[in-house]
């Protein structure tokens, strides 16, 4: 379990360093895979069926389908890279580390002795880093990455503190994530079709 959490953190940190979109997508895939593994691990602990189901769903949707879709989108947009993020790559990974520390602090402060400390801290850290990515990245795809990371983080929270939602809610959440990413993907490609760059920081027509 701990190894998994560490790996998760590692992938997340890696994500902050990725400037090539394809790499980012691959990292996300791996991250989701890790999540699925963590899920199964929890499943072994508790031995509830629904968690296995959740794990499978994770593998299929988050590690398989979504990366595939995103990959296709990325392929359609050539020479779109995260060259000059709003916050420089090294700084953002630095911030990510700070976030990790913070989250450990927060966990100890807010809910001491809750479930597995590391997993929870990792989860919160992932959430924060996801937000960080959304805030500091220009590329639409990168922001999607950030969102998925966040989603994963929260999912991990659920996993680590409550051993997963009841299955029906679980399904709903998965469905939402799926649709959300799909919608975002479609919007991204539409942006491309509308002859715009997928650099979201230039979307400043609507203000005031």
């Amino acid at each position: 379990m701990n190894i998994l959490t560490i790996l998760l953190l590692f992938t997340t940190l890696l994500l902050t360093r990725a400037s090539e979109l394809k790499t980012a997508v691959r990292i996300i895939a791996i991250q989701s895979l890790m999540l699925a593994l963590a899920c199964t691990a929890v499943g072994m602990e508790t031995g509830e069926v629904q968690i296995y189901v959740a794990a499978i769903l994770t593998v299929i949707i988050k590690a398989g389908f979504l990366p595939y879709v995103l990959m296709n989108i990325v392929n359609t947009l050539q020479h779109e890279r995260e060259d000059h993020p709003i916050l420089d790559i090294s700084y953002s990974s630095l911030l990510a580390c700070i976030a990790i520390v913070l989250s450990y602090g927060l966990i100890d402060q807010a809910l001491p002795g809750a479930g597995s400390r590391d997993a929870l801290a990792t989860a919160v850290a992932m959430t924060l880093i996801g937000l960080l990515l959304i805030i500091t990245r220009r590329q639409a795809v990168m922001q999607i990455m950030g969102m998925i990371t966040m989603e994963n983080g929260i999912y991990l929270v659920g996993l680590s503190v409550t051993k997963g939602f009841p299955i029906i809610i679980e399904l709903g959440v998965f469905f939402d994530v799926l649709v959300a990413v799909m919608v975002l993907g479609i919007l991204t490609s539409r942006l491309k079709l509308a002859g715009l760059s997928t650099d979201t920081s230039i979307l400043k027509k609507l203000k005031g």
């Binding site: 709003i86 927060l106 402060q109 937000l131 959304i134 805030i135 500091t136 990245r137 220009r138 922001q143 979201t200 920081s201 979307l203 400043k204 027509k205 609507l206 203000k207 005031g208």
Partner: protein
């Protein structure tokens, strides 16, 4: 219970008048007749209802129950009845006047105007009568909105919409203060019913806050300086019979509100309440009359004169409150009766002058008196009525304005009873002197207005072609003119009504004024203590005239021969006549500080300097409060707004950043709980 039925009947009538226009809108003439005659009936019923109240006392009726505030009703006591009476009298006149005047609007949304006219009357009736906070505020706001639409009625004319906007915003801000005052009281009383508000238990500081809120809130509606700026804009924009109502009655709703609060809800307060009102009142009066004097748009002039009269009314109220707080019921009674008397008088003569202005406007299509002149020959009756109203506004005997002004003078003279010491004496002396100044300025103002408008030679083609106003309009004006004279000659009746109105309030004793013979008005205590005998005045004047006649008849044969006006041998033409601008020049020079830095320019209008030069003399007044108070505030607000808008940059990253920041902040803050 007849009063209650009359009340319902009145509401019903006005409502039908409101809806009738939907059915008659095809035929303008029909609309005009039906809508306005219903309004007329309603006003008559209003008068009857008021009388009935005076006879049989307080009446409670239920209006509507379907709001989550419990049953909402009207409780009509004598104070309400008094104002209802005013509304009835003015309403009758304006309704009759409207028959003739509405001809102007046959092509200009007449149904809308007629309907709104009824709605306006209805809302004012409700304001005067309802007995529940929510109902009052609803009626109050409806009144504002309806009058706003009436002001905005001729929105094609340039600037009208702007005036209407300023009006609605100012009055809405005023309402904010009124609501605050009411809610503070209501919370204290634990009920929103007027009958409960009296016993509201609030701390001393809170009472002061309420007082200030009331003063600002109702003062805005009344046109109290410095929150008067909407008034000279809105009144000219409205159709004349509506201006008459607005100036004659709507301003009085504010006075009504003040009386409600000061007499009933709040009761006697610390002395500084009254003193503050006195100071504001005198400032209002002086500022108003000064601007009226230098104005030469006839309706703006009248509007400013309304500001002045509101000032005089405030003087009465302020003095009354000073006396109340010093437990001098008799003088408080005199003071309040002076104020309320002036309320009635102002309602009469100001409506009258607005109607006159409307008649002139209809005949000549200009509001600029510099373009008028010689109308006394074209429209003799209008001229007479306008002369009466001018005399009344100038507070000259034997007209009604003089009575109330005299009472105010008396009250101020006895102010040292309440405000002891040198300061009190000097204070009241200064007040009296300034009030005298105001009176003189008012006289000057209306000499100018009447003289320039009606006398000498016409100054423009329009004035040349003017014709006498429609008979209905003349009838309406005639009624009010007669009333002005009656109230001037026989104040006793009005004082009886006033004593009925005021007797029920603690700290007020009106009997002093009513003790004497029918022909004499005298300030208590004691019959010998300064007074005026209206009859004596009239007799003296008549005998004086008779004497003059006598002198004539004794000497000489009295041949009168025509000879052209002496203008040093030149054939006189209207270019030589003195103008209103010229009339007010010297005053503008003396009061430079208030009549703020006016720039006077001599414009050469001739295109070709070989054909001599043609000079125009222009005066543009910069108004003190606009330039030093309102414009800066406005600009500041807009600038801040522009600055604030920079938070919506359009960057999605930033937006998400906001969310994160908020979350973090709250998380940190929440640990403290």
């Amino acid at each position: 219970m007849i009063a209650g039925d009359l009340y319902y009947l009145m509401l019903f009538l006005f409502s039908t008048g409101m809806v009738s226009v939907f059915f008659t809108r095809s035929n303008a003439n029909l609309t005009n007749c039906i809508a306005h005659s219903i309004a007329l009936m309603g006003s008559i019923v209003a008068i009857l209802c008021a009388i009935a109240i005076f006879v049989q006392g307080k009446v409670d009726v239920v209006l509507l129950v379907m709001l989550p505030f419990g049953p909402i009703g009207s409780s009509i006591d004598n104070l309400s009845a008094y104002f209802l009476l005013i509304l009835g009298v003015v309403g009758v006149a304006t309704s009759i006047y409207a028959y003739g005047y509405s001809r102007e609007y046959y092509t200009c949304r007449l149904p809308l105007m007629a309907g709104l006219y009824n709605a306006f009357l209805l809302s004012m009736v409700l304001v005067f009568t309802v007995g529940h906070v929510v109902a009052f505020i609803i009626a109050w706001e409806v009144m504002s909105v309806v009058s706003f639409f009436l002001v905005n009625h001729e929105y094609e004319k340039k600037g009208n919409t702007r005036s209407a906007y300023i009006y609605i915003v100012m009055t809405h801000l005023g309402t904010v203060f009124i609501i605050t005052a009411f809610l503070l009281l209501a919370v204290g009383a634990g009920s929103m019913d007027f009958s409960q508000l009296k016993g509201s238990l609030v701390s001393e500081n809170l009472r002061n806050v309420i007082f200030v809120c009331v003063l600002i809130g109702f003062g805005t509606k009344a046109g109290m300086v410095p929150v008067h700026i909407w008034l000279p804009r809105a009144h000219p924009a409205a159709p004349s019979h509506v201006s008459a109502l607005m100036s004659g009655v709507m301003l009085k709703t504010a006075i009504y509100g003040m009386c409600r609060f000061f007499l009933e809800f709040l009761g006697a307060g610390p002395v500084w309440w009254g003193t503050l009102i006195l100071v504001i009142g005198i400032i209002t009066a002086v500022i108003g009359v000064l601007y009226a004097f230098i104005e030469h748009d006839i309706k703006r002039l009248l509007a400013y004169s309304s500001v002045e009269n509101i000032g005089i009314i405030l003087l009465g109220i302020g003095a009354g409150m000073v006396f109340m707080s010093k437990q001098q019921p008799i003088w408080a009674g005199v003071a309040f009766s002076a104020a309320l008397y002036h309320v009635f008088n102002h309602a009469l003569f100001k409506s009258l002058s607005f109607m006159g202005a409307g008649a002139v406007l209809q005949a000549t299509h200009t509001k600029d008196i510099e373009k008028l002149g010689g109308l006394i020959k074209k429209m003799p009756y209008t001229a007479v009525f306008c002369l009466v109203s001018s005399l009344a506004i100038a507070a000259l005997p034997p007209l009604n304005g003089f009575i109330s002004e005299w009472l105010t003078f008396q009250v101020l003279l006895f102010l040292p009873h309440a405000l002891a010491g040198i300061t009190g004496k000097v204070f009241s002396a200064v007040l009296i002197a300034l009030l005298g100044l105001v009176g003189a300025l008012a006289a000057a103002c209306f000499v100018t207005a009447f003289g320039i408008t009606f006398l000498a030679k016409p100054r423009s083609k329009h004035a040349k072609e003017a014709i006498e106003a429609a008979p209905t309009m003349l009838v309406a004006m005639g009624m009010l003119a007669v009333l002005c004279i009656v109230l001037g000659l026989w104040p006793r009746g009005m004082l009886a009504i006033l004593s009925q109105t005021l007797k029920s309030y603690p700290g007020i004793d009106i009997q002093g004024l009513v003790m004497h013979d029918w022909y004499v008005l005298s300030s208590p205590p004691g019959p010998s203590d300064g007074g005026i005998s209206t009859v004596a005045i009239i007799l003296l004047l008549l005998s004086g005239c008779a004497l003059a006649m006598l002198l004539h008849s004794i000497f000489g044969k009295g041949k009168v021969e025509a000879g052209e006006t002496w203008t040093c041998g030149i054939v006189p033409n209207y270019h030589m006549e003195y103008t209103a601008t010229g009339f007010s020049k010297s005053i503008r020079m003396v009061f430079k500080s208030i009549v703020h830095s006016h720039d006077e320019t001599l414009v050469n209008a001739s295109d070709n300097q070989y054909h001599g030069r043609k000079l125009f003399y222009q005066v543009r007044i910069r108004y003190l409060f606009d330039s030093t108070l309102y414009r800066p505030i406005n600009n500041a607000i807009i600038r801040t707004a522009h600055f604030m808008k920079s938070i919506q940059t359009g960057s999605v990253q930033l937006y998400v950043g906001y969310i994160m920041a908020v979350t973090v902040v709250i998380l940190i803050w929440s640990t403290g709980w």
